[in-house]
């Protein structure tokens, strides 16, 4: 403790020294005098001391925790124990679902719009979670699949006048197809190389959309895309937003359900094994090519589907919506939330999408805060908000074991 105190003191003195010319001395050129702002010196000293102390304290705590874990004691926080409790989980889910159903009636259209984009990112996060979180295949170009879905609806709608519902599965299937197309060349790649190829893939899709004017109408994009129809009923903007909101809620529920089932299935286990140790995985008889391709394809499926909805919601799309920045945000959602954890990804999406919306006042510092949050997260909680919850199974010996223990 004393050591940390001393070090923080040193840091603060050093900072005062460094910032002295900037923060304290000000030459007032109009009156030709030098102003001494001693108050700012105090501020710098106090702030740097406090931050440095906090930093050291957190690091020390982190170390202590690590040591405990290394000794084999697995500590589950209260929150985690609560999450493992099934009845609590069902209750919480019920409350959340009820809340999300009444949401558009409590809040105005603006709020619903924000919510829709947050939910879009929830689905994108859950999709990417399949390839990155479960199968451990880094994908820096995930937004490409989102673009595929959005453009497939926009183009089909523009040329053939097909509606939203007809195109929704088409978008998903096309996303899948592109997932497989990307998957094939990168079957043998790992780590950094995989990251670079997927990054390139994302770029290619964007560049193609920007430059192939005859096909995608270039940078000017496609406008007047139909909103989702409901038995041909005419809806005003508000009604339509509410309708899209409900579609989105349904889609999120659908995605959660299916990704949950996939994760707890034979396929999902193979994905996780692939993430954990590729060589052991193939040596245990798992077909690597098939497993990797299915992870990419299923991850891309959701991006394709939700892309269709995105196009229908905004009624206008152009390549600018599908930049690398989007891929980075979706990836951050997965990493921040906790790789592989469905609940974590949902939380991550809400935090990363809703917070900036509601903190519009600080919008200039958005990316700064974003970066800082990620760095801090990686240092203090590298496993994400929600870490891996272990799956429990029922087997015959279980009861006797409980009786003996």
């Amino acid at each position: 403790m004393l050591k940390e105190f001393r070090q923080s003191l040193l840091v603060s003195i050093w900072f005062v020294f460094l910032t002295f010319p900037l923060m304290v001395v000000r030459v007032n050129t109009t009156e030709s005098i030098v102003e001494w702002r001693w108050m700012s010196l105090v501020w710098v000293a106090v702030a740097s001391f406090f931050l440095s102390y906090l930093w050291r304290y957190m690091l020390a705590r982190q170390q202590a925790k690590k040591k405990v874990e290394e000794e084999g004691v697995q500590q589950l926080s209260k929150a985690q124990l609560l999450l493992e409790d099934m009845t609590f989980r069902y209750k919480a889910m019920g409350v959340l679902l009820a809340f999300s159903l009444v949401f558009p009636w409590i809040f105005d259209t603006y709020q619903s719009t924000i919510m829709i984009s947050a939910l879009i990112y929830v689905v994108l996060g859950l999709g990417l979670n399949i390839s990155v979180g479960l199968a451990g295949l880094l994908d820096l170009g995930y937004v490409a699949f989102f673009a595929v879905g959005a453009y497939s609806y926009a183009l089909i709608n523009h040329h053939f006048d097909f509606g939203f519902w007809a195109c929704l599965p088409v978008g998903g299937v096309l996303g899948c197809l592109f997932g497989v197309i990307l998957g094939f060349p990168i079957l043998r790649l790992r780590g950094d190389y995989l990251a670079i190829v997927t990054l390139g893939f994302g770029m290619i899709i964007k560049v193609v959309l920007e430059n192939w004017n005859e096909f995608s109408f270039g940078p000017s994009g496609i406008a007047n895309i139909d909103r989702p129809g409901l038995f041909g009923i005419d809806m005003n903007i508000d009604g339509s937003t509410t309708y899209i909101y409900y579609i989105m809620v349904a889609m999120v529920v659908f995605t959660i359900l299916i990704t949950m089932r996939l994760r707890n299935s034979r396929i999902g286990r193979a994905w996780i094994a692939l993430r954990e140790d590729e060589i052991a995985c193939v040596a245990m008889g798992i077909d690597m090519a098939r497993t990797k391709l299915s992870a990419y394809a299923l991850g891309a499926f959701w991006a394709g589907m939700v892309g269709v909805l995105f196009a229908a919601k905004t009624t206008f799309i152009n390549p600018a919506s599908f930049t690398f920045m989007e891929s980075a945000i979706i990836l951050s959602i997965v990493v921040l939330g906790g790789m592989g954890s469905i609940l974590g990804v949902i939380l991550g999406a809400f935090i990363l999408i809703l917070l900036p919306e509601y903190l519009r006042a600080f919008s200039e510092y958005r990316m700064l805060a974003f970066g800082a949050a990620m760095v801090l997260m990686m240092i203090f909680r590298p496993q994400g908000i929600i870490s891996n919850i272990r799956q429990k199974y029922e087997y015959k010996g279980l009861k006797e074991e409980a009786d003996n223990g």
Binding site: G72, Q74, I258, R261, L262, S265, R266, I267, G268, R269, A270, I272, A273, E276, D277, I279, A280, C281, V282, A283, M284, G285, I286, D287, M288, S294, L298, N388, R390, Q391, K392, Y393, E394, Y395, K396, G397, E401, G405
Partner: protein, 265 residues
């Protein structure tokens, strides 16, 4: 011994890494019901031999033939590791390769993957067949855990297991693939004498009860001499001797290469 069914037949296996010949025309056979051992000093090429047989490396020269009982002979050269495993040949690793963030039970369940078949769509629908298969996987895996003495740890993360238990878990995971031949790479490495003795019994039990032939690499001479016959000895990539434990003990080449100081002490 001659009338026993031959399961694995390796002829003149050679593996080059650039200019380094790690395995130099090694021939070896494993018969039904045998516990064969492959021994040799560090860097002799034993692990490389295993990696060639299990498809992790494609050998430079030689034949690896598998004769499953009642099925046609298959040449394993160049086959992918998962295909080799599917044909009934499972292995463990010298440097433990478990899936650390999966539970002990899940680790074994992965081994059942190639013997089960629910696909993506059926998993999503979770039909009755899938649920039954899933439950069967859990039960089978748990039984294997009990067999290797890890039943009580089923729901722990595998990374939290003690070292010796991790090695036994690797064996359980390999057995979950229903092999008829099990390759163990230094299963006793890092174990204390007590654990080694238990492993000794476990290996014999697997050989007798499950009728699985075993080929093991081991540095622990007591274990090898106790349970295995025949023994193959490698040095600098070459096979220098083969025979019963007694023959190996008396073989001057082996004593010179490897056992010398140890048996005298």
């Amino acid at each position: 011994m001659a009338d026993k069914h031959k399961l694995l037949e390796v002829k003149g296996l050679t593996m080059d890494f650039g200019g380094l010949r790690a395995v130099d025309s090694v021939s070896l056979e494993v018969h039904e019901g045998e516990i064969a051992a492959l021994i040799g000093p560090n860097g002799a090429g034993k692990t490389t031999f295993f990696n060639c047989v299990t498809g992790i490396y494609t050998p430079t020269k030689g034949d690896i033939l598998l004769h499953p009982k009642g099925l046609a002979t298959r040449r394993l050269n160049g086959l992918k590791p998962n295909k080799v495993t599917e044909m009934g040949l499972a292995r463990t690793f010298q440097n433990i390769r478990l899936f650390p963030d999966m539970t002990v039970l899940e680790n074994v369940m992965i081994g059942r993957h190639c013997r089960t078949k629910s696909g993506i769509f059926r998993s999503i629908i979770r039909s009755r067949g899938v649920r039954e298969e899933e439950q069967q996987i859990v039960e089978d895996s748990y039984q294997l855990l009990v067999k290797v003495g890890l039943g009580e740890f089923a729901n722990e993360f595998s990374k939290n297991l003690p070292y010796g238990a991790q090695r036994r878990l690797e064996i359980a995971r390999a057995m979950a693939t229903d092999p008829f031949l099990l390759l163990l790479d230094e299963p006793a490495a890092g174990m204390n004498p007590q654990e080694t003795a238990e492993l000794d019994q476990l290996i014999c039990k697997i050989s007798e009860e499950d009728r699985i032939a075993i080929l093991l690499i081991e540095h622990d001479m007591k274990l090898v001499m106790n349970i295995s016959n025949p023994i193959y000895v490698m040095e600098y990539g070459k096979k220098i001797a083969e025979g019963s434990p007694q023959e190996i003990k008396d073989n001057p080449k082996v004593i010179e290469a490897y056992l010398g100081e140890e048996t005298d002490a």
